[in-house]
């Protein structure tokens, strides 16, 4: 099991290096000259001499591979360069905005889990029951509704019509409600669906039959065995959807004017603030990979069958 964990951690490194390479290559191939972008963002009319100087400063005259290695080394020390707009280290800028985004993401994740676990579980136990239909309807709508539109619908009904929650901004818990629900909705749809399918599949397994023949109460079979194992794909889904959560925050933050990383990122795009864009993409990729790793470890802990078999690496 220890070898499995170590192996799993090691596989992340090359994938992350490739992700950096792709991001880096994209910046290189793009028609935007970072030096020019720098002066545009700083509202300075750039002369050729200034541009040349800036290029040297940013190390753009170095060969591609050298620049890449440089970037990798800097990133490993959390040095993402300085923002073209504010002239502060990108990492500091990100660190000040991170809590707002994390708060939003965690809150919606919590809502998603609280709603989807009972819903998916009950739907899976009783096929074609009321809960099953409700969950299928919900998961279908959740997969088909654009989240930014859902956000505005919620604003329209709960803020404009009923005046229950503020339209935008941060501060009280009330500000958190609508953005979290908006962000949680597609996740609820997905997790409910995953859990429902997984519970149904598990009910066909022989261990359920065996437990029943031993005379164990249905209640305890479901709660102690089926739920524990059936929840495994949902946890995988959780890891896979960290990315969804991250991009979701970008959209939800735009809808609700939430002062987090997502809005910072979108502003950076409009300002052509290349270091910020690069930093955000790479951090998100890192968080995504790390999330998947954590999820794998949780699964190892929850489902004993995985560790015993020494599950194959993906």
């Amino acid at each position: 099991m220890v070898t499995f964990i170590i192996k799993r951690i090691i596989t992340i490194v090359p994938i992350y290096l490739i992700a950096i390479l792709i991001t880096f290559g994209m910046i290189h191939l793009s028609p935007v000259d970072p030096a020019e972008a720098y002066f545009t963002a700083a509202h300075v009319q750039a002369t050729d001499q200034l541009l040349e100087q800036k290029r040297q400063e940013l190390g753009l005259d170095q060969p591609f591979l050298l620049q890449y290695i440089d970037t990798v080394l800097n990133i490993s020390q959390f040095d993402f360069g300085t923002s073209y707009v504010t002239n502060k280290p990108v990492w500091d800028e990100i660190a000040t905005r991170m809590p707002a985004t994390i708060q939003l993401a965690l809150c919606s994740l919590l809502i998603a889990i609280i709603v989807s676990v009972p819903l998916g579980f009950l739907a899976g136990i009783k096929r074609n029951g009321v809960m099953d239909h409700a969950s299928r309807f919900l998961s279908f709508i959740g997969a088909s509704i654009p989240s930014f539109w859902l956000g505005y619908l919620l604003i329209f009904f709960f803020s404009v019509k009923l005046d229950l929650f503020p339209v935008e901004g941060t501060g009280t818990w009330k500000h958190l409600v609508l953005p979290s629900i908006t962000l949680a909705f597609p996740l609820i749809a997905l997790y409910t669906r995953l859990l429902r399918t997984s519970v149904m599949e598990n009910l066909q397994e022989t261990y359920v039959l065996f437990a029943r023949t031993r005379g164990i109460r249905e209640y305890s079979i479901m709660g102690k065995h089926v739920l524990r194992i059936a929840i495994s794909p949902m946890i995988t889904g959780l890891g896979m959807n960290l990315g969804h959560l991250l991009t979701g925050t970008i959209i939800v933050e735009a809808v609700f004017s939430w002062p987090g990383l997502g809005r910072f990122f979108i502003d950076a795009i409009f300002n052509r603030d290349v270091p910020v864009i690069q930093a955000y993409v790479l951090l998100a990729a890192g968080a995504f990979l790390l999330g998947n790793l954590i999820v794998d470890l949780i699964q190892l802990y929850i489902d004993p069958r995985i560790s015993r078999k020494g599950r194959q690496l993906p």
């Binding site: 994209m26 654009p146 989240s147 505005y152 404009v160 998100a284």
Partner: protein, 276 residues
């Protein structure tokens, strides 16, 4: 409700119903220039924020443009580009998947590692980053969406090709001296194409939704071009006084996405194809 309905109707009826709906949507989209009562981008400030009338069946927006006309023209952008994204992603996925699966070895390794790297960055984030670096615009969004999407197809197809390779008729064809190219063209490709069509249907909903999300963020379609996501962005300031401005385009997106998803799911259920 929809799913309950689906239970009552059987799978075949859902497929027929969705196909008909889809055909209707396509016809309306293609005929948009003839169906639209007004010019979708003509500004008429004297007529701004009008309620529905004979001249403007859905009313007008904040610049006095006909909402119905904009919705109809918006369908052309959303559906047209979504179809383009699907076709391109499927095409690349097919080629890469077949090559990786059939040839194996280092070709497989290199292609799949490139895919891994692309997938390591969450897909929509990759697209936003791509657009961020290359500049906002429809072209960049479409390119970015294709770039992330082909990987999923390539992986699925690679898996299918690898299991197909073990089939006896493939072995037989190879023993009897068929070239790799001929085996791929005659035996491998026809087997995977039907699954591709089903995945493509599901992916259409995905593409439409993401295309409009990007336009909503201001990164995709630029005004005054009518597009559903961009229309919601424009309409959001009028949520208190004229909610219709943001309601209609959203309903359009949702209905079209539902039809595609329902059709795709029913088809994959019918043919026993798992998504991704």
């Amino acid at each position: 409700m929809i799913k309950a309905l689906q239970k009552k109707l059987n799978n075949r009826k859902v497929i027929i119903l969705c196909s008909l709906l889809l055909a209707a949507i396509c016809i309306v989209t293609i005929l948009a220039p003839w169906l639209a009562p007004n010019d979708p981008i003509m500004v008429n400030l004297a007529q701004k924020l009008q309620p529905p009338s004979a001249a403007y069946p859905f009313g007008t927006d904040h610049l006095g443009r006909c909402i119905l006309s904009r919705l109809l023209y918006g369908a052309r952008i959303s559906l047209g580009y979504a179809a383009l994204i699907c076709m391109a992603a499927l095409g690349i996925g097919l080629v890469v998947g077949v090559l990786a699966g059939y040839l194996g070895g280092w070709v497989d390794y290199v292609l799949m590692r490139i895919g891994d790297g692309l997938i390591a960055i969450p897909s929509l984030l990759f697209v936003i980053g791509f657009v961020g670096i290359w500049g906002a615009g429809l072209k960049q969004v479409v390119l970015g969406l294709i770039l992330v999407q082909w990987v999923f197809y390539a992986r699925v197809i690679r898996g299918m090709v690898i299991s197909l390779k073990e089939e006896q008729y493939i072995t037989a064809a190879r023993i009897s001296g068929s070239s790799s190219w001929k085996v791929i063209k005659k035996h491998v490709a026809p087997n995977v194409i039907s699954s591709l069509a089903v995945m493509g249907t599901l992916e259409m909903g995905w593409a439409i939704m993401n295309l409009s999300s990007m336009s909503f963020l201001g990164l995709g379609v630029q005004p005054p071009t009518p597009e559903w996501g961009a229309m919601i962005l424009e309409g959001k300031s009028y949520i208190r006084t004229n909610p219709a401005l943001m309601l209609y385009p959203g309903i359009c997106i949702m209905v079209v996405v539902i039809v595609f998803n329902l059709l795709g799911e029913s088809l994959s259920e019918r043919f026993g194809i798992k998504r991704r």
